[in-house]
């Protein structure tokens, strides 16, 4: 008998607890924002920094009572899907988002994934924010993709010009992984370098994505003795190894890339040999970061144990989505309304000091506003941290 009572009490407590939890959860309606990107395998760092940035910001918003859009305050829920850097999986991920009624998705992280999801996004009324550079995604007739960062064809020419004018760079060599993103970035870089009258002394050397030892790969380039070695589209995992191998082979010139990197990864993987390495930094370096950005970094670190410098840029996509919805609540279920709002949208940039604003750009590069405006921050790695080399505006 006693045992039956105990069972009854336990069951009642469980039911009450679930009802209470449901009631608490039901305080605010939930706004789901999707993420489709790579969170496993060699490029996992790219997608995980996206996902964790979104989760950190969503938890922060929910903790302070939700996000007000129109007359309704929403709790934010992040729905994530690991596409394993496989376009087929990316399509499956975008289909899952459509099935869940999600209209705003961050990702995918790479060119082929972003191209593959386009038909699914367009036919299901989904706006998506890829970290991929093909212009066709952002030029008419395409209209559902919004570039979530600075493209290499925007940052590359600025970096090469700066180094030509200030560091006397005359010769350049390019190296890229043998896959679509880095190869297309290399081709864009070669074109930009030639347009600046730089002498491209090597542009054919490539490496397998899974290469771990770069000394044999870099040996032929070192013989060309370039002033600048460009690591086109290099992943944070490969950058320190490439730098280290180049320095060990006696290369004393400049090394740069147009992708974002992580200072701790560089410090651990290449140590002092990474000093002077130039990369496109996160959009909120210490010089320009606001208090809110600093709090975001603290919260991210508390949640996941370690911050990722790439999140300086990746914090923005979710903020753009929410602020644009706030500007036009009708867009919550209607991406056409969202597109109309994009043309005139402006809101204070909470992650930067001063009077910086969130706005959509892209008229120059794409013929329509299909890029988030984040500052182009070019960094130099020095003794374990990034120092700002110069800041510019894109588009």
């Amino acid at each position: 008998m006693k045992r039956r009572n105990l069972l009854k009490s336990t069951l009642s407590a469980a039911v009450l607890a679930s009802v209470a939890a449901g009631a608490a959860w039901a305080e605010n309606p939930v706004l789901k924002i999707g993420f489709v990107g790579v969170t496993s395998g060699p490029a996992a760092a790219w997608g995980i920094s996206n996902q964790r940035s979104m989760e950190t910001r969503a938890e922060w918003i929910n903790e302070i009572g939700g996000y007000k859009i129109g007359d309704t305050t929403y709790d934010i829920e992040i729905v994530s899907f690991d596409d394993q850097k496989d376009p087929k999986r990316a399509v499956a991920g975008m289909e899952k988002m459509a099935q869940e009624g999600i209209h705003y998705v961050v990702g995918p992280n790479v060119d082929d994934g972003a191209a593959a999801v386009r038909p699914v996004a367009e036919s299901n009324g989904i706006m998506y924010f890829p970290y991929a550079f093909p212009k066709s995604l952002y030029q008419a007739p395409a209209s559902n993709a919004v570039l979530g960062m600075v493209a290499n064809y925007q940052s590359g020419p600025a970096i090469y010009k700066h180094l030509r004018d200030n560091n006397g760079v005359k010769t350049v060599a390019f190296i890229a992984a043998n896959e679509s993103d880095p190869l297309s970035q290399r081709d864009g870089g070669v074109e930009a370098a030639k347009a600046l009258d730089l002498d491209v002394v090597s542009d054919s050397v490539t490496y397998q994505v899974d290469t771990t030892d770069f000394t044999p790969v870099l040996t032929p380039i070192m013989r060309a003795k370039p002033d600048l070695l460009v690591l086109s589209g290099v992943s944070p995992a490969n950058a320190p190894q490439l730098i280290r191998s180049a320095r060990e082979l006696g290369f004393s010139g400049l090394i740069s890339t147009e992708t974002a990197q992580d200072a701790q990864v560089l410090r651990e993987g290449a140590g002092d040999m990474a000093n002077g390495f130039i990369s496109v930094g996160g959009a909120s370096t210490p010089e320009i970061a606001s208090d809110m950005m600093n709090e975001f970094v603290e919260r991210y670190t508390d949640m996941f144990g370690e911050y990722n410098d790439e999140s300086n840029t990746k914090v923005y996509a979710l903020e753009y989505i929410l602020e644009t919805l706030k500007a036009n609540p009708a867009a919550i279920d209607d991406v056409e309304a969202y597109k109309v709002t994009m043309d005139t949208f402006e809101a204070p940039n909470p992650y930067m000091q001063g009077d910086a604003v969130l706005k959509y750009v892209g008229d120059f590069s794409f013929g329509q506003k299909r890029q988030v405006a984040v500052p182009l921050v070019v960094n130099v790695y020095q003794d374990g941290a990034f120092e700002t080399m110069f800041i510019a505006e894109v588009d």
Partner: protein
């Protein structure tokens, strides 16, 4: 012509590390007829253990390396005792163990992501400096020379262990004929577990050594397993000397291809795979394998 010293140096270094990676895989295959798809993940785990102890906690490298070996040996023993041994006893189908190995690979990937995170990790160099001979005819970092020598010493140590110790003789007997070994009094279950632990330990050892050069990240497991399979197929599955030969051949092919064919784009691996297909069509058992298994 002036590239030859550099190609040879790169080939010796790559060959030594590849041979070490392939050794553990071929040992497990020889003993248990198991294609251990999780070998690469074991290598990655070994690298992360060394990273944590040497890189993050600052303890001596030797301690970290020993802990990588011990951790992987224990993990290997547990995996064999509680996963592979029961499956092998219950199922005569080879694909059962293959599926189990693949599942373990996915599990280890997930565990590594949870415990060590998604970032590339690296540790301080063991020795600084670079050796330069001639007018940059040969350039090789001193830590690579050290790791290469340690890898060669480890291979010699492993061969000596297999050749001269009681356990090594029992393992070789098991690999040659499981039933005959049992009839001769070899405790098959116990030595299978020891063999698997030894194979996993080798993965941990090479992971611990190479983290000082290449660093380590979550995604290295799968590609490492594929390369290890290639080496084993070249040398002959289940043959220790074959794995070493396969590793050295792959190392030299890579070094030569990357140096001499650089201007043609990334065709080195294309040619290696085409050569491997032709080679296996002619000699499917590999260089030192036997046609009957």
């Amino acid at each position: 012509m002036d590239q030859i010293p550099q190609i040879l140096a790169n080939g010796v270094y790559l060959g030594a590390q590849y041979a070490m990676i392939a050794l553990g895989l071929t040992l497990i295959f020889a003993l248990m007829n198991v294609l251990n798809f999780a070998h690469g993940q074991m290598y990655v785990l070994g690298g992360f253990v060394t990273y944590t102890i040497y890189g993050a906690w600052g303890l001596p490298f030797v301690v970290a390396l020993a802990m990588s070996c011990i951790t992987l040996a224990i993990l290997g023993a547990l995996i064999e005792k509680y996963l592979f041994a029961p499956v092998i006893k219950k199922s005569a189908r080879d694909e059962s163990t293959m599926l189990l190995a693949a599942a373990i690979a996915f599990l280890l990937d997930a565990v590594i992501l949870l415990v060590f995170g998604e970032k590339q990790r690296g540790v301080p160099k063991l020795v600084d400096g670079t050796t330069i001979l001639g007018d940059y005819t040969l350039v090789i970092a001193n830590d690579r020379i050290l790791i290469c020598l340690l890898a060669i010493a480890s291979i010699i140590g492993f061969i000596s262990f297999m050749q001269f110790s009681k356990t090594g003789r029992a393992l070789r007997a098991l690999a040659q004929d499981r039933v005959a070994a049992q009839l001769m009094g070899v405790n098959v279950d116990r030595y299978s577990m020891i063999g698997f632990a030894l194979g996993a330990m080798l993965a941990g050892l090479v992971g611990g050594l190479l983290v000082t050069i290449t660093g380590i990240n979550l995604g290295m497991g799968g590609p490492t397993s594929i390369k290890a399979f290639m080496m084993v197929m070249i040398g002959g599955a289940g043959v220790i000397s074959g794995a070493i030969a396969g590793g050295i051949i792959l190392g030299f092919l890579e070094a030569a291809g990357l140096a001499l064919l650089a201007s043609y784009g990334n065709i080195t691996y294309l040619l290696i795979f085409v050569s491997l297909m032709i080679f296996l069509a002619i000699r499917p058992q590999g260089l030192m394998g036997k046609p009957w298994g």
